[in-house]
């Protein structure tokens, strides 16, 4: 995975596979403490305790189509190579929360990538999902909430091409406005 936004898409696919109807993506950049936090929380069926301790093991998966499960183990590797860590909390019947912490300006911190396309793809494949996306940079906030969008759009579905274009563009502009760090600063200098 070359971008953090692809990891986020992957985690949300896990949420959807677990029957989630609500997913919250929260990204926080703390410039003073040099921390990037990504949290994905869902209301899916949750992970049994006897399985939870193995979810970051690449040789464990609940799928039957293959014997390896790389999603969370790749994310764990991405956090650890940039001075961070990954934590997964889950309660059966209530949902799962994935918390990934990175050093914001670490040389090996993967770029955030295209969050507009990630959120657009999630919505286009799952227009009935209640998706909340919040991105904070030192107190400045960008928010996209599909429940609010539905109230405004009325009978128009969220997978309408015009709506998907809006989502992609609104996120790109919103993140630019709050000064979201797409790349670590040290990489910006080299680019």
């Amino acid at each position: 995975m070359q971008e953090l936004s692809m990891h986020i898409l992957d985690i949300v696919q896990n949420s959807l596979a677990a029957g989630a109807t609500q997913v919250e993506i929260r990204i926080r950049e703390n410039l003073a403490e040099d921390i990037l936090m990504i949290e994905v929380q869902d209301n899916g069926r949750g992970i049994p305790q006897e399985v939870l301790y193995r979810v970051m093991d690449p040789f464990f998966t609940s799928r039957t189509t293959r014997e390896i499960g790389l999603g969370l183990s790749l994310l764990k590797e991405a956090t650890e190579r940039s001075g961070g860590c990954l934590k997964v909390c889950s309660e059966e019947g209530r949902g799962t929360r994935v918390m990934a912490r990175f050093q914001l300006d670490h040389f090996d911190r993967a770029p955030l990538g295209d969050m507009g396309e990630t959120v657009g793809v999630i919505i286009s494949g799952n227009p009935a999902l209640d998706l909340f996306y919040e991105h904070q940079v030192d107190g400045q906030i960008y928010v996209l909430d599909t429940r609010g969008m539905r109230n405004i759009l009325g009978p128009i579905n969220l997978d309408d091409p015009l709506v998907l274009d809006f989502v992609r563009q609104d996120i790109q502009m919103g993140l630019k406005k709050i000064g979201a760090a797409t790349f670590p600063k040290v990489m910006e200098v080299l680019r």
């Binding site: 696919q13 494949g125 405004i152």
Partner: protein, 120 residues
């Protein structure tokens, strides 16, 4: 979130809604498990939706699926057309996806050079 822009979209989309409604006869499924995402399924999905909108295709639904077990062939795209066998395209990229939309979805011709599997 730009609420005013969203309200403008509602007005514009409502006029076109009647044209787009109706049965979604053709179905595309994009593999969106870890293997698919790592291989590029996200831009493939975006390209499919974009090309369908550009071509004003009205009877096509696009959904996502998990891992089919053929990770080395990802990104995989399944095409279901009424009365025809399922076609699975392998190693799809955005350019191939646009070609599949135009030739297979709109014109009904299977793009044989990209086919990974076909239901008997």
């Amino acid at each position: 979130m730009n609420v005013e822009e969203l309200k403008r979209i509602r007005e514009k989309s409502q006029k076109e809604m009647d044209l787009r409604s109706g049965e979604k006869a053709i179905k595309l499924v994009v593999g969106m498990a870890t293997c698919g995402i790592a291989a590029g399924a996200r831009p493939v999905m975006a390209a499919i939706k974009d090309e369908l909108a550009r071509q004003n295709a009205k009877n096509v639904s696009v959904t996502q699926s998990g891992c089919a077990g053929f990770c080395e062939q990802e990104p995989l795209v399944d095409v279901f057309r009424p009365g025809e066998t399922k076609i699975t395209y392998g190693k799809v990229n955005p350019d191939k996806a646009r070609k599949i939309v135009v030739e297979h979805i709109l014109e009904g011709r299977v793009v044989n050079e990209f086919v990974f599997a076909q239901d008997k």
